[in-house]
């Protein structure tokens, strides 16, 4: 029953193309931080993980960070254009979400274009995603937007959480 309902909702989203609904479900103003002053990757990840903890997306910062670093070790999460997408599946995730940080200065990061990173999008996804199809779908639509140069440009210029949300609304 539950699955059927979720499928219905997804098909509604597809049919209606209701971009606003999609974004509102994934981009949470409470887990966005602009004008950040992280000096390195670890600082940035911790700061964003704390936001996820405070807003009940994850249950433990250190445990979650260990899982994120496991993915970091597998390959570059800096996708170029000053954006990094640290992610991984973690049993410390309570609900699917993202934390977004816009840093004032470039942070050293392993990236595809050799540049540093100013926009960090930290994905929180659990190991067991039964019943989370709807949220996974929204997350994939969100991830897709990071492949759009215009979205990225606006994202990096964001001065506050509302700007960030608007950047993804395009």
């Amino acid at each position: 029953m539950c699955i059927a309902l979720e499928r219905y909702q997804i098909s509604q989203l597809k049919a209606g193309g209701e971009k606003k609904v999609e974004i509102d479900n994934i981009v949470d103003l409470e887990t966005i931080k602009t004008n950040m002053h992280a000096k390195n990757k670890d600082d940035a990840l911790k700061e964003l993980a704390e936001l996820l903890l405070q807003n009940e997306y994850i249950s433990d910062v250190n445990g979650f960070m260990t899982d994120i670093y496991a993915r970091e070790a597998e390959g570059q999460t800096g996708i170029g254009n000053y954006i990094a997408i640290p992610h991984g599946k973690s049993s410390f995730v309570k609900k699917i979400g993202v934390a977004i940080g816009i840093n004032e200065d470039e942070i050293p990061w392993e990236t595809l274009d050799g540049n540093g990173v100013k926009g960090v999008i930290l994905f929180a996804v659990g190991n067991d995603n039964d019943g989370a199809q709807n949220h996974l779908k929204l997350l994939s639509l969100f991830a897709r937007k990071l492949g759009n140069d215009e979205v990225v440009e606006n994202l990096l210029q964001s001065k506050n959480a509302e700007d960030v949300k608007e950047a993804f609304g395009q």
Partner: protein, 111 residues
Amino acid sequence: MNIVGVAACTVGIAHTYIAQEKLENAAKKAGHEIAIETQGTIGTENELTAEQIAEAHVVILAIDVKISNRERFEGKRIIEVPTEVAVKSPNKLIEKVEKIVEQSYQERESK
């Protein structure tokens, strides 16, 4: 040119979809028709139809993992790259694909 492809990364959350978006944008910009299927944590989406595959001049596989139903592309010209190539330089990749396809058609004609 008609392009089909599949994007699939290790975790299936982020790179898969970024690669899809970048490939689609780059191909459209260059004036091609493109459809990219994604195989991620959520499962297969934007699944390619038999017709789309039949009409495709080339298949781009932007993958870091084994994909399901690869046999659908048997007999097609397949260009396989890691997702990061599609993410890093989608325009260059499409240019390369154009050259490879052009070459293969020339070879066929000269035979």
